[in-house]
Symmetry: C2
Subunit: 403 residues, 2 copies
């Protein structure tokens, strides 16, 4: 039997053999704010990545994707405050330089270092500030939390998690951190996310599991419908736990999948909860769909509907908006077969409106998490999606966020 | 030669042989507000319709679409304040009753009367209020403006227009009105729109022209990305101008298309300008696309991007958001070939950032209309789309709008 346990205060360097650190390079407008982070595996590892599908891709995404494919990654250097996107050939050179500087510091080949940048687009990366700041960056086994802070932009809190996984052969850990608050929508949710494990897996298996897990977690997350040119999810597996390599189609693989799903689900939920201006996390669970694609479409469409999001901001049980959003999702939806529950209260039952006490319903909606459950009544497939409410603060943040 | 001239103060009953009127039936919360309207052709006419593609369809949409197909429409009765949507079999009966009441008043068969309802979903239509109010509704040749007011919900102003069309054979008129402010997105923009003309066309040709025109106008309009279950666009052509019937593939057809395009473009722009909470109209013109589908995708995606909309609310020349939105549209986009102009200012030229004076740019953006011009540099196809900025007022309107 295998078991999965959250590690209290766990983070991206909780798994053995990973070090991280961060410094302030002066890229963010707040003096002294951490904005340059480095995550490093002390030993060779398998790495996999999932990237934005936006056709406008930042320079670091272009550089890093090629390196993931080459299969030799051991570190990632990340800055916040500038996305190094829409920056042309100079941007590519800057991204390569940033990785090369980190590689020199770590004694690695440049091709072993991934690079990511997040922040404003269309502005040249201040590469000299990064060159100047990098020497002072100290790596440590408890450096995960600093790294998680350094990658934040409009996030109000860092997002970190780790699990300990007990298996018959021994235990390993899996940890992660993520940033992202606005410009978040599948595919991918706009974000940077890093997952580490001291389990051992071959890169191809790791890539396959990561892609499927991302589709069920980060790609089911929406804040504002916009996607970015910088989205990057990287996973590193360095085998430092000393356990046998996890083979495909094994009990160990199933356990690892569950552990990775737990890490990514946690991070996706925390990203939604901290969506720009958000006051409530929305979880949409769709069941009874005719297909997985349909279930996911409905969950994502409901979670991203401006009218659903504003109703939830106002504790307004305006449930019709939920069904109408489902109706435009592209999935098969039949109001005569659908059942809708909001905060556990049945509101619509296969074509019939269910009366409810509006005052009670409003008070149940004044909660930090809103549960929408929609049974389409057409099949047996389920999916979950996450989002957040839309408040006036979202508008303030994005109308005033500087170019 | 044919010519098109706007009619000063023109409206939906400017074309000959159309009457309209409105009363207050007590369906809106504001006492005395017009909320029940009737539009009627004094003679037989061709009618065509375009309806929501949302799979959750209101009762009036279900009733009316069947009647448009049967091809005998001469009138439409519309209420605001209640959408009669998600109301099951009782809702269908109410929609049929509402049409039958109007038919009896007009001496028409029920099948000759279309019906539409707009307002809150999931609430039974107060059909007795409509029965009580309808007798007092007076029809008049100058009743268009009252009708246009009666169909409004969160709209702040009515949207009406008419053109006079001079042709070698004589002149005719084309007029229209529309409502819609939130829950607006292709397809269709959430709205009710009615177009009348005293030109004569066969129903099939009218339907074909209406569909194509809707795709280039109302279906290029977005306010908040949500679509409704009530969207209905109807066009009536009664031939009262006494001109020969307009044949397909003729100079007269080309003129009629241009006139219908002018009416629908005007109404679509006015709907965008009056989007919920909007302070600015956004017009996105995409050129150089590889296909019409690509051009339209980019225009709609940019116009509906929450990040573009909030930047424009804040007069923030954050042009990177425009290109990044284009990149997620699904159309082919290559940053090395794209050129972007905002308010006439070139900001990005095929991979290169163009420096600009930020203070000047901010002041140019403090305008009622924002022009985004994006040349993809990949082909020769163009399209326009319309939207509006996203302000805190949108959130207030929709967080507080009652269920």
């Amino acid at each position: 039997m295998s078991a999965l346990e959250p590690v209290l205060g766990g983070h991206v360097t909780t798994p053995r053999g990973f070090l991280a650190g961060a410094v302030s390079a002066g890229l963010k407008s707040v003096p002294g704010a951490l904005d340059l982070g480095l995550l490093y595996s002390e030993r060779d590892c398998a790495a996999a990545g999932v990237f934005t599908r936006n056709q406008v891709r930042s320079a670091p995404v272009q550089v890093t994707e090629a390196r993931v494919r080459a299969g030799k990654l051991r570190a990632v250097v990340v800055n916040s405050g500038c996305a190094n996107a829409l920056t042309g050939a100079a941007g590519i050179r800057d991204a390569e330089t940033m990785a090369a500087l980190a590689a020199a510091k770590l004694g690695l080949a440049p091709a072993e270092v991934a690079v990511a940048s997040t922040g404003v687009t269309g502005v040249a990366l201040p590469i000299e500030k990064i060159r100047d700041a990098l020497p002072a960056l100290a790596l440590a086994a408890d450096g995960g939390p600093s790294f998680a802070r350094a990658i934040m932009t409009t996030d109000t809190v860092p997002k970190e998690v780790a699990y300990s996984v007990q298996t018959p052969a021994g235990s390993y850990a899996i940890g992660g951190c993520a940033k992202g608050s606005g410009m978040i929508h599948p595919d991918m949710a706009t974000m940077l996310a890093y997952v580490t494990t001291d389990a051992a897996l071959a890169p191809d298996l790791l890539q396959a599991i990561m892609r499927e897990t991302a589709d069920a977690t980060f790609n089911m997350l929406t804040v504002d419908g916009d996607t970015s040119c910088s989205d990057t999810l990287l996973v590193f597996a360095n085998g430092a736990a000393g356990l046998p390599i996890i083979e495909a189609v094994s009990a160990e693989e199933a356990t690892f999948r569950a552990a990775l799903m737990a890490v990514c689900t946690h991070l996706a939920r925390e990203l939604a909860r901290d969506g720009e201006g958000a006051s409530r996390l929305i979880e949409v669970e769709v069941s009874g769909a005719a297909s997985l694609d349909d279930a996911r479409r409905v969950a994502r469409t409901v979670a991203s509907s401006a009218l659903v999001k504003t109703a939830i901001a106002g504790c307004d049980p305006n449930w019709g908006r939920i069904l109408v959003a489902a109706g435009r999702s592209g999935a098969v939806v039949d109001q005569e077969r659908a059942r809708l529950l909001l905060q556990g209260q049945l509101l619509f039952d296969r074509g019939n409106v269910v009366p409810f006490d509006e005052a009670k319903m409003r008070s149940r909606m004044d909660a930090p998490e809103i549960a929408i459950r929609l049974d389409l009544g057409l099949g047996v497939v389920s999916a979950k999606g996450w989002g957040c409410d839309l408040t006036t603060d979202y508008v303030h943040i994005n109308a005033d966020y500087t170019t």
